[in-house]
């Protein structure tokens, strides 16, 4: 049975390459049909904002990459409810569908379900 990997993305979309490169890990895993999960927490939830205008800072819009997750077979996409709330964001108005994890304990239990984890 294939080993599963959870990628936890904690950085805002254009703060260096972290957001982009953590997404690349996930998409590559999806391309190989591996069991991959993706969790957005802390500033990582900013990647889920519906109203991004990265062109203003000459950055790439990662929303297209996020929307590709489903196409690559990555369905286990989560966001930390507390991180969203702290940043004035709500599960209902994000750029992709995510499963919200309302409690920290949910995150701990999520991590426990995976063989490996990478937190970027």
């Amino acid at each position: 049975m294939a080993k599963s990997l959870l990628v936890i993305s904690r950085q805002a979309p254009w703060s260096g390459l972290s957001a982009r490169e953590s997404l690349d890990i996930v998409l590559a895993g999806g391309a190989f049909d591996l069991p991959i999960g993706l969790l957005f927490m802390d500033d990582g939830v900013f990647q889920l904002s519906q109203t991004q205008g990265p062109a203003a800072v000459q950055q790439k819009d990662l929303t297209a990459n996020l929307k590709a997750l489903e196409m690559f077979g990555v369905e286990d996409v989560y966001a930390c409810g507390k991180s969203l709330a702290e940043r004035g964001m709500f599960p209902g108005n994000l750029n992709i569908n995510i499963k919200q994890l309302p409690q920290e304990q949910d995150i701990s239990e999520l991590i426990d379900r995976y063989d490996h984890v990478i937190t970027l």
Partner: protein
């Protein structure tokens, strides 16, 4: 299934320790290395945050980093060298380094 969380950023400059403590499971462990060992500095908020959870999880610190910073660490913190770090990574089911 239990996780060894590894931190290396200073808790004074960074929110990783706070975020990590929020989601540490009851069987998980935390290894402080590099600047994260500053969290063990006496009479500081990070140490208080760790003390308030003492007993709820195993806390480890990388020996060389404690030594380099001349830290006096509480008795309930276990210092480890590299061979012991390797053993920890085997003892726990996965290693989650907060990059």
């Amino acid at each position: 299934m239990a996780t060894l969380h590894v931190l290396s950023h200073s808790p004074f400059a960074d929110s990783r320790l706070t975020s990590c403590l929020r989601l540490l499971g009851s069987k998980d462990a935390l290894l402080l290395c590099g600047d994260a060992t500053y969290a063990l500095t006496q009479a500081t908020a990070p140490l208080e945050a760790l003390e308030s959870r003492a007993g709820a999880f195993e806390l480890y610190a990388l020996q060389e980093d404690v030594h380099a910073r001349n830290l006096t660490i509480p008795a309930w913190v276990n210092c480890v060298d590299y061979p012991e770090f390797v053993e920890l990574s085997i003892r726990y089911d996965r290693v989650n380094t907060w990059l």
